[in-house]
Subunit: 551 residues, 2 copies
C-alpha cells in the first residue's frame, strides 16, 4: 500500500494511525472553533479528525492544540545561527516553518551560498522555505560580492522550496519602472513577490502594487497598514528586534478582521528570541493586547501559509502536515509540546558546512590613516541615530562630538572605504566593527580612535568575519562569525554569551543607544531613510544618491 492509500485507510479507520493526539481542544483555523476531536496522523500527515485509534497516543487532555507557527518573512542571518541551531531554538517555541529571504548570505556568496543553505536546510525538521533574494545589490551604492541578475533569480526559482521573489527593496526603481526591476517582476509571473515599501503611500503605492507586488512588512502606522490592505496587499506585521510594529498595527485586526494579515519577525537577534520568543511571542503579545486567541493563531498559521501558497501548512485538517502545538493556556503560548510531522523532535542533525562558505573576508589591509578624518570645521552630513529604529536622521551640523564611521569593502579587496560621522551613539572611546552590515556586508566600523578602528578591521580579517570590540589597541570582546562573516559555527548559548559580551564591552566604551551591533549593522543599508553609509560613501536615501560628507 503506498503512502496516500495508507493515509486514506487511516482516515477511514481501516488502519490504525501512527499517532493519535487525543483529548485536546483542537482549533479549526477555518471556523475558529475549538473542536473536541482526536487527530489521526499517518506518515506525518493529518488523516482525519474524529475518533481514532493509533499505534502511539499523545495525551492532549486539558490542552489546546493549534497548528505550528509560520514566520512569513525572516532573514536567518540576523539570528547568527546555522539553520540546525536555529531549529533547536525555535521549534520548542512553536515555529515549525519559516519563509527565509537569504539575502545577507546572497550578498556575500551569491547564488552559490543560497544553494548551499537550501541543501543545508533540507534534512532539518523545521520547514525552511525561501524567497529568491531580488535586490542584490540593495542599491547601486552598495558593493556585494556580485549582483544577482535575472538569470540568477531564474535559477533560484527552479528549486522546489523557493516560493517566489523576496522583498523588492528597490521601491523607487519599481515605482519608476526601472527596466531591470521590471525584468525581475516579469520573471516572477505566476510566482509571487514580497514587497518592501517603507513610507510609500498614494500614487507611488499604487504603482508599486500595480507592478504585481502584493505584500509589505514595512508599515509602521495604522494609516500605512490600512492603505496597504485597501491596495490589495498582504500586511505582514513585523516584530523585529530593531523594528517593533506589532502594537501599532494590531488595531487593524479589530477594524478589518484577520483577512490578509500575517505575522513575521524579519530580523531577530538570538538574544531577543531566547528572551521574548519567536512567532509565539507575537501571538502572546497580540492576545495580551486584546486580540482573540483564535484570531492571533490565524495570523501565525493559515494566513502566512495562504500568502505563501503553502497549501499543506497552517491548519489542523485532513491533508495538512501534522505540525501541531500543545498549549496549557492561551496566554503564555509556550508550547508544552511541539509535534513536527506528528512527533516530538528529538535529534536535529548538523548540516555540512564546507570550507568555501567560510573565509569570505577579503579586504585590502588597512591602517589607522584610513580612518582619520581631518575635519577643519564646517557643517557635515551626520548620521543621526534614532533609538530602536532602523531609520536614521540626516543631520547637517558641525560634527563636533560625533564618532567616526567607515565601511571597508571586503569581498574583492578593492580597498574602497567610505567615511562619515555618527551622532547619538554615546561611544566615548575604542572601536566596534562587524562583518554584518546590511546588505552588502562589507566591514562596518565605528570608533573614536583611528588606531582602534584599524585594529578592529584587521581582527575581523583574522577571524574570517564576526564582531569585535577594541579598546586601546586590544580586542576586548569578539564573536566569530566564520560562515560568510554572518553566521556563527557555534551553539546558541555560546553565540548569546559572546554576543552579550560584545554588547557589554560596547556599553563599557560608552555606547548608550539601542543594541549596538544591530544598530551598527543597519547603518550601511542604503534603502532605509535617511542617511546611510557604504564603501562608496554617504547615501542620502531620500534623494537616493551619494552625497559628500561636507555640506
Amino acid at each position: 500500500m503506498d503512502d496516500l492509500a495508507r493515509r486514506l485507510a487511516v482516515a477511514r479507520g481501516d488502519e490504525p494511525a501512527d499517532v493519535v493526539v487525543r483529548g485536546g481542544r483542537v482549533l479549526s483555523v477555518f471556523t475558529r472553533e475549538w473542536l473536541d476531536v482526536d487527530i489521526a496522523v499517518a506518515d506525518g500527515w493529518i488523516a482525519g479528525l474524529g475518533d481514532y485509534e493509533g499505534r502511539e497516543v499523545v495525551d492532549a487532555s486539558g490542552r489546546y492544540v493549534v497548528p505550528g507557527f509560520i514566520d512569513a518573512h525572516m532573514h536567518l542571518e540576523s539570528t547568527k545561527l546555522l539553520p540546525d541551531e536555529f531549529a533547536r531554538l525555535v521549534l520548542p517555541l512553536g515555529t515549525t516553518a519559516v519563509v527565509l529571504d537569504p539575502h545577507e548570505l546572497a550578498n556575500v556568496l551569491g547564488t552559490d551560498g543560497v544553494h548551499w543553505l537550501l541543501d543545508a536546510c533540507d534534512t532539518l525538521p523545521l520547514d525552511f522555505y525561501f524567497m529568491a533574494s531580488s535586490t542584490i545589490p540593495a542599491s547601486a551604492f552598495e558593493s556585494p560580492r556580485r549582483p544577482l541578475l535575472s538569470g540568477d533569480l531564474e535559477s533560484l526559482l527552479r528549486r522546489r522550496r523557493v516560493l517566489g521573489l523576496a522583498e523588492m527593496m528597490n521601491f523607487p526603481g519599481v515605482i519608476n519602472a526601472d527596466p531591470s526591476e521590471l525584468d525581475k517582476l516579469r520573471l516572477a509571473e505566476g510566482v509571487h513577490v514580497d514587497g518592501h515599501a517603507p513610507g510609500v503611500l498614494g500614487r507611488s503605492l499604487n504603482a508599486y502594487v500595480a507592478s504585481g507586488i502584493r505584500s509589505d512588512h514595512e508599515a509602521l502606522t495604522i494609516d500605512e497598514g490600512r492603505e496597504r490592505l485597501r491596495a490589495g496587499m498582504w500586511l505582514l506585521i513585523r516584530e523585529a528586534s530593531m523594528a517593533r510594529n506589532l502594537q501599532a498595527l494590531l488595531p487593524l485586526v479589530a477594524e478589518f478582521g484577520t483577512n490578509r494579515i500575517a505575522f513575521c519577525t524579519d530580523d531577530r537577534d538570538p538574544e531577543d528570541i531566547a528572551e521574548n520568543g519567536h512567532i509565539n511571542g507575537m501571538v502572546r503579545e497580540a492576545v495580551a493586547a486584546g486580540v482573540a486567541p483564535e484570531d492571533a493563531v490565524v495570523l501565525a498559521t493559515i494566513n502566512p501559509a495562504t500568502w505563501h501558497r503553502l497549501w499543506h501548512l497552517g491548519a489542523i485538517a485532513p491533508g495538512y502536515q501534522a505540525d501541531l502545538l500543545l498549549f496549557d493556556d492561551l496566554e503564555r503560548f509556550e508550547p508544552a509540546l511541539t509535534l513536527k510531522l506528528g512527533r516530538p523532535v528529538e535529534e536535529i542533525p548538523e548540516p555540512d558546512v564546507p570550507e568555501w562558505v567560510k573565509h569570505s573576508v577579503r579586504n585590502r589591509p588597512v591602517s589607522a590613516s584610513d580612518f582619520a578624518i581631518d575635519w577643519k570645521g564646517g557643517k557635515a552630513r551626520v548620521i543621526g541615530l534614532v533609538p530602536d529604529q532602523v531609520v536614521t536622521e540626516l543631520r547637517e551640523e558641525e560634527p563636533g562630538d560625533a564618532a567616526t564611521i567607515a565601511v571597508v569593502e571586503r569581498h574583492l579587496g578593492t580597498g574602497r572605504i567610505g567615511l562619515g560621522f555618527v551622532a547619538g551613539s554615546g561611544l566615548q572611546r575604542g572601536a566596534l566593527a562587524s562583518t554584518v552590515a546590511h546588505d552588502a556586508h562589507n566591514i562596518i566600523v565605528i570608533g573614536r580612535n583611528a588606531e582602534d578602528m584599524s585594529r578592529a578591521v584587521t581582527r575581523l580579517g583574522e577571524l574570517g568575519g564576526g564582531i569585535v570590540v577594541v579598546d586601546g589597541g586590544e580586542v576586548v570582546a569578539e564573536l566569530p562569525l566564520p560562515v560568510a562573516g554572518l553566521l556563527a559555527d557555534a551553539p546558541l548559548a555560546e553565540v548569546i554569551r559572546r554576543s552579550l559580551a560584545c554588547n557589554d564591552a560596547a556599553r563599557a566604551l560608552g555606547w548608550s543607544g539601542a543594541t549596538p551591533f544591530l544598530t551598527l549593522s543597519f547603518l550601511g543599508l542604503s534603502v532605509i531613510p535617511s542617511l546611510k553609509i557604504t564603501d562608496r560613501g554617504l547615501v542620502d536615501v531620500d534623494r537616493f544618491q551619494i552625497v559628500p560628507l561636507r555640506v
Copy 2:
C-alpha cells in the same frame, strides 16, 4: 514604453489613464469599505485608486462599483449555449469570469472537444477558465465515447487556462483509494482539485479531503456545510436550476463569516438565467436573506478567485484586471454597466464551430420493440422522482402506473440499451427524448408508448442531437442541439423559445414534475443517489452496482 511600464506611469499620474471610473463608491473586498475614489485603468488593468485623469471618463456618480462576478464552478453545456452566446447572456448580468468543467463535452468528444472549446473561448470578452474533467466515465456504468485517462488529464493541464482537476465525482473510488483515482490526484500535485462529495460525512469525508481535494459544491444542509468547512474544504454554495442550496447554506455565512465560501451555479438552464439572473441572482438572494451586501459580493468575487488561484481577478485594486460592475442599488444587483478590461463590451465575436464537433450522434437504428417491457407483474426497481432534486428514490414496487425509460448508446453504435421504470413524472402519453443525459450523454428517452419512444430516438439521430417531444408518432416540439448533441447553434432567444416549447409540449403530455428535460437529463447520472439508468442498465448508486429491473 512597454505595457507594465505604462501601467506604472499611469499609477504614478505621469500618463493619463485610458479610462477613469469617477465618482462611484468603490468596494474594497479586502477591508469591506466603500471608498470614494477614482479607478484608473491602463491596458485593461487597474493602475490605481485615488484622483486620476483619463482619456475617457466613465461617470459612476451615485453608483456602487464592485468587481466582476466569478462563477466558481459551472458546466457551460447546461446552458445549451455556445460560449459567445453565453457571454452575451451573462456579461450584462455581471458575470465576467467563469470556471468551467466541460465534462459533458468531454464525454461526447473527448479531449479533442475540450481543446476546441478552449480555443473557441479564447477570443471572447468573458474569461473562461477550465478545470480538467476528472471523471469520465462518471462511473464504470456509463458509456462515453471514450474514457479520459491520466494522460488525457495531463495534456489538458498543460493548457494555460486549465487551472486544475475538475470535480472528482467518483467519491467512493477516492475514499477507497482506487488506484486510478489516486493516479489522477498524484498528477494534480501542485495544481488544485475540485470535489463532489454528496452526503459524504465523518471518516469518509476525512478520507476524501486527505486525498487532497479541497472543495465541495454538493452540500445540502448546514451540518454538511459546517463539516466541510471544519475539514478545510472550500464550500462552494450552489444554486443550480435543479439543486438550489443557497438558502439552506447561507446561515453559515452568519456563523463563520465569508472565509472559504464562494458562489457557483453548477448547472443552469438558459431560461433560468434569463429569468433569475446568474451569480448576480445569488448575490441578490443572499442580500435579501440578510447577508451584508459587502459580504455577498465577496462570496461572488475575491473568494472564487482565491479558491481558483486567479490572482488577477476578484478585486478593485492596483494590479487587478479592470472587470467592474456599476450598480444603482445594493438590492437588485442588476448592473447599470459591466466594464470588461475597463470598457463596455460591444461586439462579441462568433467562434469557429467546425463540422467535426457536430454530427456526434451515432446510435444503431431502433424500433418500437427496443422499448417494450413485457412486465408480467411483481416488484420492480422503480426510479422515483424527487421534485426539484437531482437525487432519486429507489422504489421497490409494482411498476403499475410508471413510465418506461431507456438509455440508448449513441457514440459507437453498439446498440446497447438500458430499460427501466420511472414513477412520479405524470407523463400520460407520447415520449420525450434527449441527447443531453449526464454524464455520458447517450440518448435518454421516457415514454408511454414504444412507437413514440422509437420515433423520438430516431429523430434525434436526424437532428444530430437535441431534445424532442413526440406524440402519436409525430414530433410536436424540438430543440436541435447540433454541437455534440449538447449545445445549440442558435441565439439565446431561439434556444429559450424552443426549449420552452418542448417543456410546454411535455406538460401537455401530462408531465407534472419539475423542468422535464433537466429532470430527464439527470436520470442517467450514475453518481447521484439513489437509482439511475444508463445504457448498461439500472444503477443502484448507494450500493454502486448494476441491479436488475426485477427485485
